[in-house]
Amino acid sequence: MTFALWLLMAGVLLLVLWPRHGLWARWKAWRAARQRILIEDALKSILEYTLDHRTDPSPEALAGLLHLPLARAQALVDLLAARGLVERRAGRVHLTDAGRDWAVHILRAHRLWERYLHDHAGWPLDQVHPQAHRLEHRLSPTAAQRLYEALGYPATDPHGDPIPPSQGEIPQPSTTPLTDWPVGQPARIAHLEDEPAMAYQQLLACGLQVGQQVQVLERTPERVVLLREDGEECRLAPGVAANVHVVPAEAHERRMPPDVLPLNQLPDDAEAEVVAIDPAVQGLARRRLLDLGFTPGARVRVYLRAMFGDPRAYLVRGTRIALREEQAARIWVRPLPTAPSPNTLNDEGASPHDATPAQTPNPRP
């Protein structure tokens, strides 16, 4: 009986004290990880503040960013300072070189994960931030570099924030909040602030996307009315609209000619010429469309509609290619006058050369 008791106690002791896998060791590892996460979050917040405000944050501002009571934030700054990651300068918290390197790495890891989760894992936009926030602490700099390469050197995260390159400065595009943008001027969305989540959800619900072209129709203290490039209007509260950052639309983009429409709106059996693939489509999806022959100047014709109405198949360069509605919506085309051919049914392939070589327009000057 006593022997069994001894055995039990020895077992419990082993369970607790076993090196590396025992409960005590695990608890310590967990504590260390917690502290590292706290440090990394703090560094990242300081960096982001510095980039946004072009000045270092005060401990009070940091406490606000990290949702910590001031006393704990002060203690955290002391800890960071003891490790040589920050120094106090005139009552503000300044990143040292070592602190800045680490912070840039975390920021990079975060934005790379967001890109990955959105583009490759297919996560909804409003859910990538919390997940990336968890994952960013588990990526070594080498692994981050591999992720960067595997993703094809993305320039921005899905919210439009720049991803720091392997070397050199973080590019900071100068953007204007929509609330300060002149009414009537065309603009391109460069960044959608994803915090607070509630406001971000409203932006998504409104159909706004990074890379989209918009125009402010009306601005009052109660509301901001936007015109999206596809002709839809959307209304936002000014507080929410301030989270949309825009840049001037480039000169050639401004004249989106009136006769251009998205491919999904092309009527059945109509023929058109590709004008452009929307800049909002990036990465592999863009390449795929181009590889399939949807290049500017290519002729397309609606060939077939599936049983449930979506997807549709398009004749492009002599082949029938099926696309879903939301993909076709990202290809801008210019409808062509229907060819006076007596047997349109027969006209194999929309490739210009074999059907009507004389009429082929020359799309590129």
């Binding site: 297919g122 181009l290 599936a306 979506d310 490739s351």
Partner: protein, 780 residues
């Protein structure tokens, strides 16, 4: 064989006189010329050192595998839909005394994206250093195909363009000036019809001349914008400085400019250095055992090639490599955002120009476009679904009707032999257990599989291949994509499900056509809800014996076909349901892009279908039956004849499983059969019958009526048992081969276990629910 050769002859007068020798269609005489006579297909590569290595590349569905089969004499599967070949295929042939190794690469539209199949193809062309690349192009869509040709010509100058499907082009009134094409591209171009072999001898002669260096090629290189050219030149100079002697420096520079991870890795690991020194670093096509894991971390953790066959660069070289990579990144930033688009646009513009010069339309095209009529019929909201159902119905009706008679005949013959054999053993005075084990165990297991399972399989498979060759599968995927999108999955999942009808393991491999890892995983995990070849004979048997037997004989086979279709629709329903559930829980995410090419309808090749699907299938089934049914028969006999405490082992096990079985509306014997049948689902029904039979005194069992008497009379089956068994037949763990394939494809034990247990759990829950409801309602 004479028919195809006649064709060029009848066309000969129409051909322009001025056509130079170099590009004319082969005259009939050439079919017997020495060149053709000296082609000796060698089948699968036997590993002997080949004199030359030839790669087959091209767009999907352009006849690469058909040409491969013609050259090597192999029977690589072909089908009229893009993405049929996803695994590697190698073979060999001998021509004029030289051995050629042929590699059939997966079809791709481009080499610029970083999707897996494209990587496989271009890695082999670059790192495998093949002596020649045969690029098959579809003569009816030359412009699209030339885009890829131009890209391949950027990598290698040892290429031949095989202009395939010349028969279709002729039928469409298209005239392809292959000589102009060869001149424009700077490499030889040969018109062929891979299906009939027309032009293949010319292709081989050209190939021989090319590998021997008798033909000098000047491949066309596409220029881009000024800025782009400058950046490319700068980088190319640096690449050449670092890697003197690299054969495709321009292309490597282009890929580095593009930031291609695979090429960067090859540079860092020293693979490109080895290549520059003339070492082929890939002697086989490396089909990556795809690592699909929800978490990118696993992907990142995968190190480069273990112990590469080449030297890793020293520290000084590494520093230069990193400097080169930084230079590439800097140049890329200088090019602005749209330069990659410009590269593709330039390629297509060039392809357009060449196609316009080379393709001429002759005469009037056909009056009526059957393709479009058929497409409208298949995809209209009114007729689409009924036509699809009708086709499925006809296929199963033919299968059921056709399998009836051979099944009975086979059963009679095989069981007659069993009785004779057993009698002979007894007459020889051999011990009873030997007779029992061999004849009533091993042999009987085999006999059941052959008589019950083989006929439906051997009839269904050719019918299915017929639909595949006709080009119906992509239409089905096209139609159903909307449903799959709603379920958060990919429309091409319908294609992989169709492959699952043949074999679930093949269906799992076919999921490689889906790019998005998340959607691919969904397709892998749900493939088992499609009843495979080894399972629908079970459905057919149950439908015939139980459900159809309730109706007058005149309608019996219609009703049976209907019951099978309903079960399959249920399978599709569960596929969608589970896909929907998965994409909202463990595999959370949004549907990705969907692009699918709808190929033209093609007349199926009856003789080949008969061979590949009928004979090959029969041999396959027989072999698998030998491997699984015979041992299973032995095991069942042992279970039935080893007694513990006066009762057989089978009785004990079935008794133990019985409570769960009853709860599910089944019984212990059925569950036992499913456990024994884990290696192969074909043996479920035979096992059940044998266990019941051993328990009863009924030995002779040679008709469906006798089977019904056994199951209803002795085993106490009801309609509920049959219905739930049909449900359980689609909702249970996949067979061992499929589980292993899931493991190989996902590289994860976790997903393999999930793929096995999830359907089983679902099956148990669903059957219990059905049984409970039916019992509460007072039936059953």
């Amino acid at each position: 064989m004479t028919l195809p050769r006649l064709k060029p002859q009848t066309r000969a007068p129409k051909e322009p006189q001025a056509r130079p020798l170099g590009a004319s269609f082969p005259t009939p005489a050439c079919a017997t010329c020495p060149a053709a006579a000296s082609l000796a297909p060698l089948g699968a590569d036997d590993g002997r050192v080949a004199d030359y290595v030839v790669a087959l590349a091209g767009n999907p569905n352009t006849g690469k595998s058909t040409l491969f089969n013609r050259l090597t004499g192999l029977r690589q599967h072909t089908g009229n839909w893009p993405g049929k070949t996803v695994t590697r295929a190698e073979g060999a042939f001998e021509f004029n005394g030289k051995r050629y190794r042929v590699v059939d690469l997966p079809g791709t539209y481009s080499l610029l994206s970083t999707s897996e199949d494209e990587e496989v193809a271009r890695n082999f062309i670059l790192f495998g250093r093949p002596d020649a690349v045969i690029i098959t192009v579809d003569a009816t869509a030359l412009e699209r195909n030339l885009n890829l040709v131009l890209q391949i010509l950027e990598i290698t100058d040892k290429a031949i363009v095989a202009v395939n499907m010349m028969d279709e082009a002729r039928r469409k009134g298209l005239d392809i000036d292959t000589r102009a094409l060869a001149r424009d591209l700077g490499v030889p171009a040969v018109p062929i019809v891979a299906r009939t072999g027309e032009g293949v001898s010319r292709l081989l002669q050209t190939l021989e001349a090319l590998v021997k260096g008798e033909i000098r090629t000047h491949p066309r290189r596409v220029q881009g914008s000024e800025v782009f050219q400058q950046a490319l030149q700068t980088l190319m100079a640096e690449v050449e400085a670092l890697l003197p002697g690299l054969p495709s420096a321009r292309w490597v520079a282009l890929r580095l400019l593009d930031g291609d991870p695979r090429i960067i890795e090859a540079l860092r690991s020293g693979e490109l250095h080895a290549l520059a020194q003339g070492q082929a670093t890939q002697t086989r096509v490396q089909v990556p055992s795809t690592r699909i894991n929800g978490d990118m971390e696993r992907l990142l953790a995968v190190p480069g090639p273990q112990a590469p066959g080449w030297q890793t660069p020293d520290a000084a070289t590494q520093a230069r490599i990193e400097a080169l990579l930084r230079k590439a990144e800097e140049l890329r930033r200088g090019l602005g955002p749209a330069w990659q688009d410009a590269v593709v646009e330039a390629l297509y513009a060039e392809a357009e120009r060449i196609a316009r010069r080379v393709v001429h339309r002759q005469g009037q095209p056909r009056r009526y476009d059957w393709d479009q009529v058929l497409d409208r019929l298949l995809t209209s909201p009114v007729t689409g679904l009924p036509v699809l159902m009708l086709m499925l119905g006809v296929v199963f009706w033919i299968t059921i009707q056709g399998a009836n008679v051979p099944s009975e005949l086979l059963a009679r013959a095989l069981f007659w032999l069993e009785a004779r054999g057993a009698a002979l053993f007894e007459a020889l005075g051999l011990p009873w257990w030997l007779t029992g084990f061999l004849w009533h165990g091993v042999y009987r297991g085999l006999a059941w599989v052959v008589s019950v399972m083989l006929p439906p399989m051997a009839i269904f498979f050719p019918l299915f291949t017929f639909m595949e060759d006709l080009g119906l599968l992509p239409r089905i995927a096209f139609n159903l994509d909307w449903l799959f999108r709603k379920a958060g999955a990919h429309g091409k999942q319908a294609l992989t499900m169709a492959m699952g009808f043949g074999c679930n393991a093949a269906g799992v491999v076919a999921t490689r056509i889906i790019d998005s890892p998340r959607e691919r995983l969904i397709a892998i995990l749900t493939n088992t809800f499609v009843p495979c070849n080894g399972r629908y004979p079970t459905l057919i048997m149950l439908a015939t014996v139980f459900i159809a037997a309730q109706f007058p004989p005149a309608y019996a086979s219609f009703v049976a076909a209907l019951a099978v279709i309903v079960t399959i629709l249920l399978g599709i329903f569960f596929t969608l349901l589970v896909s929907w559930g998965l994409s909202r829980t463990v595999l959370k995410g949004l549907p990705s892009a969907f692009t699918l090419e709808l190929p033209p309808y093609r007349r199926p090749n009856f003789l080949q279908i008969l061979y590949t699907s009928f004979i090959e299938r029969t041999i396959f089934v027989l072999r698998r039956a030998m491997a699984t049914a015979a041992p299973a028969g032995g095991v069942i006999w042992l279970l039935a004849n080893i007694t513990v405490g006066g009762q057989s082992l089978a009785w004990h096990i079935a008794g133990f499983l019985d409570p769960l079985g009853r709860l599910m509306g089944l019984d212990g014997v059925i569950l036992l059969a499913y456990i024994i049948a884990i290696p192969a689902n074909e043996i479920v029904v035979p096992t059940m019958i044998m266990v019941y039979q051993n328990a009863s005194m009924m030995i002779e069992l040679d008709s469906l009526q006798a089977l019904r008497d056994l199951l209803v009379g002795q085993a106490g089956w009801t309609l509920l048992t049959a219905a739930n068994l049909m449900l359980f037949a689609i909702l249970h763990n996949p067979c061992a081969t499929t589980i292993l394939t899931i493991y190989k494809e996902t590289g994860s034990k976790k997903w393999a276990a999930f793929g096995a247990l999830m359907p089983l759990g679902l099956g148990i829950v669903v059957t219990i629910l059905v049984a409970t409801v039916v019992r509460l309602l007072g039936y059953g």
